[in-house]
């Protein structure tokens, strides 16, 4: 009888330990995963805060021949990717050839990217918007 009771208690103990350990392991895994994702989100948000660009074209003197040229300056504190700039002209995405001016090799703070559009906006008012891959954007209203 005594041995049966001891065995039963031992089985309960082992089972409880296994269940508790498994449950605690799953819970810790979920929490660690959540904190890692929170850290990634925080880093992404921090990168957005430190990034900024400005379209520096003179809105009265946009070059349209042979290509329409737009100039974007990195006015933030982070190096950005000029090749992934999305350009919208009057709300529509246009394809541009993006290069860096002044011999720059990276779109570092202070560098200028030239966005060459193989087309010419019609005479009148237009809105240009550039969006970078981290979500920051800049806008310019101009007249042709």
């Amino acid at each position: 009888m005594g041995a049966d009771t001891t065995s039963t208690q031992l089985i309960f103990f082992i089972a409880a330990t296994i269940v508790a350990t498994a449950a605690a392991g799953i819970l810790s895994g979920i929490v660690v995963d959540l904190t890692e994702k929170m850290q990634v989100r925080g880093e992404a948000f921090g990168e957005q805060l430190e990034s900024d660009v400005a379209i520096i074209n003179d809105p009265r003197a946009i070059v349209t021949d042979p290509e329409t040229l737009f100039y974007v300056k990195n006015t933030g504190k982070r190096t950005l990717d000029h090749a992934s700039i999305t350009v919208l002209l009057d709300g529509e995405v246009i394809t541009t050839t993006n290069t860096l001016l002044n011999g720059e090799t990276t779109f570092r703070p202070g560098a200028i990217a030239q966005l060459a559009y193989n087309g010419a906006p019609a005479a009148g008012d237009h809105v240009l918007r550039v969006v970078l891959d981290n979500g920051i954007s800049a806008e310019l209203e101009f007249r042709i």
């Binding site: 810790s28 948000f45 520096i56 003179d58 300056k73």
Partner: protein
């Protein structure tokens, strides 16, 4: 039975304490990074808001193909001459013959109240539009 439950509680407590400490550490770490980014953004905005420029003179010498512009730093931000971008008729130019700040050609600092003199050469014809853009994206324009 009681020992099993106690063991389970102990396991849960140890694991939750460990996970909680890890999560808290990562949370405060990401908050610190975010705070650093917010301060950087605030400095960028403050610098831009404190930038105010005025073109006080602009002359074109057709014989020497030289365009000379004087710009006064009327704001409270300290600027750097090497970070400036010049546009003539909407196109960035690197044809900078010389720059000086209140007569000092060696300095790169352009402090509040000082006048920057820029000589652009060669400039084939008198430009209609001149634009100066600073590192933080603030700009001043001049039209002939």
């Amino acid at each position: 039975m009681g020992f099993s439950v106690t063991t389970a509680y102990v396991i849960f407590t140890v694991v939750l304490l460990s996970v909680g400490a890890t999560a808290a550490s990562q949370y405060w770490g990401s908050q610190e990074d975010l705070e650093t980014a917010r301060r950087a953004q605030a400095r960028m905005l403050e610098e831009r808001a404190g930038t105010s420029l005025e073109v006080s003179a602009a002359t074109y010498d057709a014989g020497a193909q030289r365009y000379t512009v004087e710009v006064v730093n009327q704001g409270s931000s300290q600027l750097r001459v090497s970070d400036l971008t010049f546009l003539l008729d909407g196109t960035p130019t690197t044809a900078v013959e010389s720059t000086d700040v209140d007569g000092d050609a060696a300095t790169d600092l352009w402090l509040p109240g000082e006048t920057l003199t820029v000589m652009l050469n060669p400039v084939a014809q008198a430009p209609q539009y001149f634009q100066l853009v600073t590192r933080n994206g603030a700009s001043v324009t001049h039209q002939e």
